[in-house]
Amino acid sequence: MDISKEEFEKLKEIAELYQVIKPIIIYSEEIDSYSNSNLQVIKELRDAFDHIIRVITIKTGVKSNNKSDYTMLNIEKSIGHVYRAGFDALDGLVISLKEDILEMLKRYKSDIIVSIIPNYWKYRQEINQISITTAECRQNKDSGNDLKVLLSDYLKNAENLKNIHNVFINAMPLIEEKNKEVNKTKLISNIIKFLGWFIAIILAFLSIKQ
């Protein structure tokens, strides 16, 4: 197979990129609450495969093509689709992690969470920021920005969210315990209040009767 140095470097780039993207895709499917497959990722991988097959078809002599930039153009297109598969997998990953955090915390008031995780407000703000960045990234992933930089930033965001997710997972038993304790104290306080009112009413009734 006749491959130029330039083509070889580009093929190496796609292989190296795929080493990063594939684990993200598998992990993203793994942590999806409903074990759903992400159609966008499947579609991007399908298109990446199609462009690579075009290259293989020409390079193995199954078909010929006179365009001088045909191979490079298709390798570059394939790289673009692998990047987009990565962005789509990261979208799914961030969404699943945030959904899981929302589900974990929905039963608890913020003061209870803060009593166990003193940095809760800082984490909450970071999660909000990651949500905004993700929404923006979903809009801009097809723009002419440097995909490597964009993917690298997006990966950092996802890693940061996973770290926060771990903090919440580890704190959940203590949050649940604290919640039970607060509810118990509230119940005792309500019973005392009720008894107080009850005794007051009885005493008032007796004093009126006398």
């Binding site: 074990s35 159609l39 799914g92 913020s110 993700t134």
Partner: protein, 82 residues
């Protein structure tokens, strides 16, 4: 390995259906886009699900359509923590 060949009848049907004069043109033809406008119809997938030989997840409808995924993304990304 012996080459797998399409019959002339199959070639004619495909050529007519996808609008090409020669099957060799297909190599550079793009696949159909999957987007909110050209979304997957789950009802149709369900109809053929017992005949799907590929992905079990897709065959058993364990996927979100593009519209469903976008709606989920909007809902989760806009949701506020307590």
């Amino acid at each position: 390995m012996e080459n797998i060949l399409l019959t002339q009848k199959a070639i004619d049907i495909i050529k007519k259906s996808i609008g090409v004069n020669n099957l060799s043109e297909v190599l550079d033809k793009e696949y159909k886009d999957i987007s909110e406008i050209n979304d997957i119809d789950k009802k149709r997938v369900k109809l053929y699900s017992n005949k799907i030989r590929g992905s079990v997840r897709l065959g058993s409808l364990n996927f979100l359509t593009i519209k469903e995924f976008n709606e989920r993304a909007d809902r989760i990304l806009n949701a506020q923590l307590p």
